[in-house]
């Protein structure tokens, strides 16, 4: 598989923002002390899910376009349908 790389590396502040965003709106959960080797990290999976939902290019990376959408004003209701 070929993955596109971000033009600029996301700062630590941006990564924290993204983590908070995905926890709040896409049900990203903490994955601590996991003994299972994961091919795709939960963060990448949730980033992809968020990009797909928002109609962005699905890269699984915290690129500039994804960050820009995360910084836009929005509704506080999670995008993950909890009832489903």
């Amino acid at each position: 598989a070929v993955y596109s790389m971000p033009v600029t590396e996301a700062s630590q502040k941006d990564e924290l923002l993204a983590e908070g965003y995905l926890k709040k709106f896409f049900n990203l959960t903490e994955q601590r002390n996991s003994s299972i080797r994961r091919v795709i990290s939960p963060m990448t999976k949730k980033l992809s899910e968020m990009q797909k939902f928002m109609g962005l290019q699905v890269t699984g990376k915290l690129d500039a376009e994804t960050l820009a959408v995360m910084k836009k004003p929005r509704c506080g209701v999670p995008d993950v349908n909890m009832a489903r």
């Binding site: 797909k52 928002m54 929005r74 509704c75 349908n81």
Partner: protein, 169 residues
């Protein structure tokens, strides 16, 4: 569109609402008008009707608040989260809360237009979840639209009519 579930909806067509408090950003009459117009967006395409009450508990309780406001989902200051609402149900169900750290406006695009945010939140109050259609009102990101020429996008019409049916008139 998506819903919170096919049965997560009001089991009656006549709903009440109450404006519990006001934002200092706008005149009270402008808030009243914005809220009424936002509810009528949904009433036009469904059998639902909305009656305002001035005291007691309404189905949809509408309030402005900052930071923590007693529902385990604190607001986060200016920008980011603008508002949230709860799916149909008893107690807090159906209620809509607006972050008063925002600068709400009646028509001006130099702030956040209350009518647009309220119409989105009332979609949740009635049972719609977020849409992944960028043109839909229920898309989670705020975008400016002229409130005077606003027409409910077809994705939202299909969504709400899947829960309540069409307006018989």
């Amino acid at each position: 569109f998506s819903t919170f579930g096919t049965n997560v909806k009001w089991q009656k067509n006549s709903l009440t609402y109450r404006i519990v408090n006001y934002t200092p950003d706008m005149a009270k009459a402008e808030v009243d008008d914005s809220i009424n117009k936002a509810l009528q967006v949904w009433a036009k395409v469904t059998p639902l009707s909305f009656t305002r009450i001035m005291s007691g508990t309404a189905d949809i309780m509408i309030s402005f608040a900052t930071g923590a406001h007693g529902d385990s989902s604190p607001f986060d200051g200016r920008g980011k989260t603008l508002a949230h609402a709860f799916s149909p149900g008893a107690a807090i169900g159906g209620d809509a809360h607006f972050d008063d750290d925002e600068n709400f406006t009646f028509r001006s695009s130099r702030g956040t237009i209350l009518f647009l945010v309220a119409a989105h939140e009332f979609g949740h109050s009635l049972g719609l979840s977020h849409s992944n259609d960028r043109s839909a009102l229920m898309y989670p990101v705020y975008t400016y639209k002229n409130p005077d020429t606003f027409v409910l996008p077809s994705d939202d019409v299909t969504g709400i009519q899947s829960l309540y049916g069409k307006n018989p008139s």
